[in-house]
Symmetry: C2
Subunit: 251 residues, 2 copies
């Protein structure tokens, strides 16, 4: 592997030696005006499938340009098969949750509408762009998919067979166990299967009906996040941390 | 214990049955204009020392007012003796780190100036106010102290005897171990002593000289935070999570 360049760009091209990559106007503006790269300069490319590649600037124009792909600088490292479900809140905190979930290695991010969620719609394209930017920053080779807003009740009704849902119930501080202890106590149940998901509630918590339903579902495991009530963005990072450190790719 | 009211206010008074608490102009504005409480309404008070108390509005004025303290609704729960050291970055992310450190149960927050930190000064009063607000929100009974900006090199030279420093080295992904594994491997060394501190680096990382010094100090233990490079605010929550789940008050 060659040394990894600092500037990283997500592109939607196949990456292989000698591959030409044409740039969009936004990409050219970022590389040549913001980052001030010139012809022959090095950068890193990734597409979410082929790992990370070094590329050289072939043509640097004001409104476009092209790169030539050179050598692979990092292997593809897909995250664990982990979804993050969260109820969108204020715009800035929703952006933060998408950014943090990407850094923390979620494979798919699903905004969900709960009984106490105010959001009727989200800007899926804007959130997906946040995930791309976070992947460029954190050195990852994977960009999680951000879904459009879904109703939690429907998602639970169509829940995929074998996938385990870890439910961070902020309204129930003290009654659930920590994920690492749950894993140690029953590794077969929690450590295998067809993937995982983490569900973080909205600022106002879940409704009593939602909480009852969640706790009764056979694929749901409630998890604890300590004695204080965490904001949704803090809870997302904390739950992802405990997952990655006990079942995920931090080991 | 009585039921805990939803609206919470940090005050700088002793709290005991029958205690009168006079309100500042800002506090009166928050309670009577923003939250629209009237005479006789209930709220929760805490002062960082005496747990949480229910209080009733005695006088609700436009520019002031007073409360009468009634009964204790939660015991005092001090966090572990844990400091968070971080290098201040952009204003919004610095605010977030203080908010998150409070929610996550740090006892003291110390902004540090490192070789690659741009900040020359911080607004200590503003950051302390953020910690108060976060404590009011998260249901805690404790407000961490936010120090003024200190130079990391001096802090390390005067390091208190017996306190262990957990060093999250983002520039060294993959070479350190996870805190829960370190604790399991050597509980006597990491689990006892005169408190702990977590050090999170600036966005640009530590300088080579700083990193060498940190790794050579006998009270420093490097800790890993997974294969991706985390932003400073994400790294702070992740490191605090692993601490609280393995050595702190999440157990």
């Amino acid at each position: 592997m060659s040394e990894r360049p600092k500037i990283r760009l997500y592109v939607d091209h196949a990456l292989q030696p000698g591959q030409t990559v044409d740039l969009s106007r936004e990409q050219a503006n970022y590389l040549f005006n913001v980052m001030r790269l010139g012809q022959g300069a090095e950068l890193a490319l990734f597409n979410g499938r082929d790992g990370e590649w070094r590329a050289l600037v072939a043509v640097a124009g004001k409104r476009g340009g092209s790169l030539i792909c050179d050598a692979q600088t990092a292997l593809m490292m897909p995250p664990p098969d982990l979804w993050l479900l969260f109820a969108p809140i204020k715009k800035a905190r929703t952006d933060f949750i998408v950014e943090k979930a990407t850094e923390m290695g979620a494979a798919r991010i699903i905004p969900v509408q709960t009984d106490f969620t105010n959001a009727e719609r989200i800007r899926q394209d804007r959130l997906q762009a946040h995930a791309v930017e976070a992947a460029e920053q954190c050195g990852g080779t994977f960009v999680p998919t951000v879904d459009d807003l879904q109703r939690l009740d429907r998602l639970l009704s169509d829940w995929p067979l074998g996938r385990r849902l870890l439910f961070a119930d902020e309204g129930d501080v003290g009654r659930s166990a920590l994920l690492p202890d749950l894993v140690a106590g029953d590794p077969a149940r929690l450590g295998q299967g067809a993937g995982w998901a983490i569900l973080i509630g909205p600022e106002g918590g879940f409704s009593p009906a939602e909480r009852d339903r969640l706790r009764a579902l056979p694929f749901v495991t409630p998890i604890a996040l300590g004695p204080r009530i965490l904001r949704a963005d803090t809870a997302a990072v904390a739950a992802l941390t405990l997952f990655q450190a006990s079942l995920g790719d931090w080991r």
